[in-house]
Amino acid sequence: MARPRWVVATGLLAPTGVWLGLFLLAPLALVAQFSFATRDTGVARAVLPWTVRAYVTALDPAFLPIFGRTLAYAGATTALCLLLGFPLAWFIARHSGRFRTALLVAVLVPFWSSYLARIYAWKALLDGEGLVNRLLGAVGLDRDGGFLLTHGAVVVGLTYGFLPFMVLPLYVACERFDHRQVEASYDLGHGRASTFFRVVLPGVFPGVLAGSLLVLVPSAGDFVTPRLLGGVDQSTFGSVIDDQFRGGNNWPLGSAMAVLLLVLVVVVLVLRGKRGEDVL
């Protein structure tokens, strides 16, 4: 009767383990293998002479601006999501009473529309004839040609797309946060700013970390939004990888870049350390 605990736990986890092993780990291992292959290995499974040429190409200084742009987009998106997501999450967790669940669901309702329809909605709102430009025109702040094809448009689009991934973990953290700590802090003579930075922020930090990670990673890998909302030179890491697989047909180079992106993610994950773990 008394089976060891780990046997039961492993049994419960086994289906998930099999699925992720087959359809996540094995494919990722294959990508790692491709990244060391010579270009155009064709259909063969065999790896032609192992080479690091793909990595040499991927780390070429020519790709540096693309790398930088990707990080800038992802970083700005994460910052903006935090800025918008925190007040919202705090408000829902602390002040919305029994409509809390309804408000949380309301955050998700717009996402039942098609992802591309949402991007095109922004496209329509931001272009020269769009509503934003016309409204700004009424106060004399309009801009010739609108705001489409700018870096700002890309960041707005990405922020819009990934905001729920920030709001949900932040909400969980805000809800768990014991508000009496704030009162205690006031009682002990701390001001608002000091209370926020020394009590509230550390208290909800796991949520901040988890949300940031969930926004940073997909926005660094996304290529659809930058392609549709960005200007002429809108290549990001994701779109360069996409080009290698779909257009350029240079699988080893695409794989090497995918591996580099993954390494970046792992670095962020390790830097996150123990503190984010209980939320993510």
């Binding site: 605990r5 780990w6 736990a9 419960l12 986890l13 998930t16 699925w19 992720l20 087959l22 359809f23 996540l24 780990l25 094995a26 494919p27 990722l28 294959l30 990508v31 491709f34 499974r45 918008l84 997501g85 007040p87 919202l88 002040h95 029994r98 669940t101 309804a102 669901v105 309702v109 717009p110 996402f111 039942w112 529309s113 098609s114 992802y115 591309l116 329809a117 949402r118 095109y120 909605a121 329509a124 709102l125 004839e129 905001l163 969980v172 990673v217 997909p218 890998g221 996304d222 290529f223 659809v224 994701g238 990888i241 996409d242 697989f245 794989s255 995918a258 993954l262 773990e277 993510l280």
Partner: protein, 274 residues
Amino acid sequence: MNRRRWVLGAAAVLVFVFLYAPIVWLAVVSFNDSRSLSRVTGLSVRWYVELFHDSRVLDALGLSLRLATTSAVIATAIGTLAAFGLRRAFPGRGVWTILLSLPLVVPEVVLGVALLGFCVKLAGIPLGFGALLAAHVAFSLSFVVVVVRARVAGMDERLEEAAADLGASPLVAFRTITLPLVAPAVAAGAAFAFLLSFDDVVTSSYLTGVGSTTLPVFVYAQAGRRGVSPEIVALSTLMVGVSAALLVVGVLVVAWRARRASPASTFVGHVRDQ
């Protein structure tokens, strides 16, 4: 104190405006009589009519619905088991936790190209429904686990122990005590999984086969040539409309039940369940 709360409320309203502005705009232009998405020239329902006559859109929608449902069912079933597996400490739990957080952080483009290579060059899985299902379950599993696990962790184990003490078999205890307690989280996880699958463009775009295109991938391919078609805008409006209507019904039910529940204990229990 009150002023701060007011400022916070105003900020929350502004974020909701940001979230809903494009959706409201989509709803408005879905009734436009021209193809333009930026200027309304007149009102008509032609895009709704065309939507229901466009067999390619309807086929893609059908596939997306089947895929999202199947993937959500599988991900919810095995993800819920996994969440229970992680309930208590055991040797190896750390490794499992890392494995389960991996899908959350693998960029979609990486997962897409990896599965493309895997299906085509190694496993011989034909692109299409099977390959899409493999991918969608893989990336939505973790969300189910995160949501259900949070609920399982917050559960009072004494309830289950009490059931056992009263003679309930483990299975009966699970069905009558544990399952009702985690049901809201399981439902939330399933909804999340459905949504993630239903709206996925990037990963899916590598894995669709001939004649088996999901709706988002179909829209993306089409958008590349002519921009997003007003039919898709009409469809999006319908879907948001339905989910918003469900939300309103939910809110009304909560309000109604809260008013009806006279004993304070029922109310408190209900609020806690939220």
